[in-house]
């Protein structure tokens, strides 16, 4: 049996209006070999992180603690062949404990916390490891019309070298995990996006979540030899 290679047909997230409006309906096209290299961006190192930017539990070093449960999130970033993704930039954003973002376009009217911005940055070290602290986010009502909540999650954008990934870390045992449209599309693979609880020795945070990130696809390994 021979199989003809085809590009993916993207799926529309169930009960998700924006997914319906924006998901390409045609099968993705295959990239001809002669054009392949031009599809591998190489993102320059961006030295933008500042002191304290990996601690989202405070607006600035020494400032008061935000409300809610302070948690640690840590892990290792690597490619599918296990090579560490070094000095990559992680941009992190999450809602406060009540489920509100400080983003100017979040019009939910949910309570803000004057001690929480929910924005952070960290770069991976020589082994591809990262650690940041934040407040455990609240689930929020994403679709008031049908009463659908987005489960607790932390947004992470990762960029560095030829690795590029925007993803979300979910929390184990959350009741809204099962009904989330994007989680539904992931199927059994959703488990890879769930942080695993660990005890942390740091007394300033309640507990930790281990979230190892594996950057997939051919782009991430294009320049590995």
């Amino acid at each position: 049996m021979t199989m003809t290679l085809q590009g993916r047909l993207l799926e529309v997230g169930p009960t998700d209006n924006t997914s319906d409006q924006r998901t390409p309906r045609k099968r993705l096209r295959l990239i001809p070999q002669a054009a392949r290299e031009s599809f591998v961006p190489y993102i320059p190192q961006q030295a933008v992180t500042r002191q304290g930017e990996n601690d989202l539990t405070r607006i600035a070093p020494g400032a008061p603690r935000a409300q809610g449960t302070p948690i640690e999130v840590s892990g290792r970033v690597c490619t599918q062949t296990g090579q560490p993704v070094r000095h990559a930039l992680l941009e992190i954003w999450n809602a406060n404990m009540f489920g509100r973002y400080t983003h100017i376009e979040d019009h939910s009217g949910i309570q803000l916390d004057p001690n929480f911005l929910g924005l952070g940055r960290v770069t991976t070290d020589d082994e591809g490891r990262y650690t940041f602290w934040t407040i455990s986010p609240g689930a929020y009502l994403a679709r008031p019309d049908i009463g659908r909540y987005r489960p607790k999650h932390i947004h992470i954008s990762l960029s560095g070298g030829s690795s590029r990934l925007i993803t979300q870390m979910y929390f184990p045992g959350e009741e809204n995990n099962a009904t989330d449209p994007m989680a539904t599309l992931m199927g059994d693979a959703f488990e890879r996006n769930v942080g695993q609880v660990y005890e942390t020795p740091h007394i300033d945070v309640h507990h930790g979540y281990r979230f190892d990130i594996v950057v997939g696809g051919r782009n991430a390994t294009f320049f590995e030899d």
């Binding site: 309906r25 096209r29 295959l30 990239i31 031009s38 933008v48 599918q80 911005l117 890879r192």
Partner: protein, 201 residues
């Protein structure tokens, strides 16, 4: 890569949607205009200044608001700044080729230099789009009347009907010394922009 290596590959973390609230706080203006390093510096990339401008539209023809766009291109001499070309004398010390912007409404304007042709390719800019409800999608933008469009391997892989959807139209205007090119991206529907699969191919 051998079949055996493939079996030992780790499972990738799932891509997930950027959601509606990509932080504008993370904006970096230096990534929205690649024609200059800093207004206070006399050094700058070589090449003709252009502005690539347009709208990102959804299935209904409405602006797909809340869009993060990333751009990747060769310098004026057609050289990409990648590890494979680290020793290339035609690298431009003032040009990385990576840009990013976040558009609130779906309209975008990216200032850069006209990319050179590389390895028989027509001048092009690789475009990555993130938006609420979808994961990353990628395509390439070409330029009206550019040399090499007729023989470009990627454009040639498309139907005659699809080719113009990736060719930015020369607006005939200049803005702040840059020639303006226009291209709308249509995420879904009859006039859908061709997108490419960089995970499978």
């Amino acid at each position: 890569m051998s079949a055996n290596d493939k079996q030992n590959m780790l499972f990738p973390t799932n891509e997930d949607t950027v959601g509606p609230y990509f932080p504008i706080y993370f904006r970096d203006e230096r990534l929205e205009d690649l024609t200059s390093i800093h207004p206070g510096l006399i050094v700058a990339p070589e090449g003709k200044h252009i502005i690539l401008r347009g709208r990102v539209l959804d299935r209904h023809g409405d602006l797909a608001n809340g869009v993060v766009m990333e751009f990747w291109q060769a310098n004026a001499k057609g050289v990409y700044r990648t590890p494979a070309h680290a020793d290339n004398p035609d690298l431009d010390p003032w040009f990385n080729g990576y840009g990013r912007l976040r558009s609130k409404a779906g309209e975008y304007s990216f200032r850069t230099i006209f990319p050179g042709s590389s390895k028989g390719r027509a001048p092009n800019i690789t475009l990555t789009i993130f938006s609420d409800g979808i994961n990353r999608v990628v395509t390439q933008v070409f330029f009206e009347d550019a040399e090499g469009n007729d023989t470009d391997s990627l454009l040639s892989s498309l139907s005659e009907e699809d080719k113009p959807k990736l060719i930015a139209r020369h607006d005939g205007r200049t803005a702040d010394g840059a020639e303006v090119y226009l291209l709308d991206i249509i995420m879904a529907g009859d006039q859908e922009t061709p997108f490419f699969d960089d995970l499978v191919s």
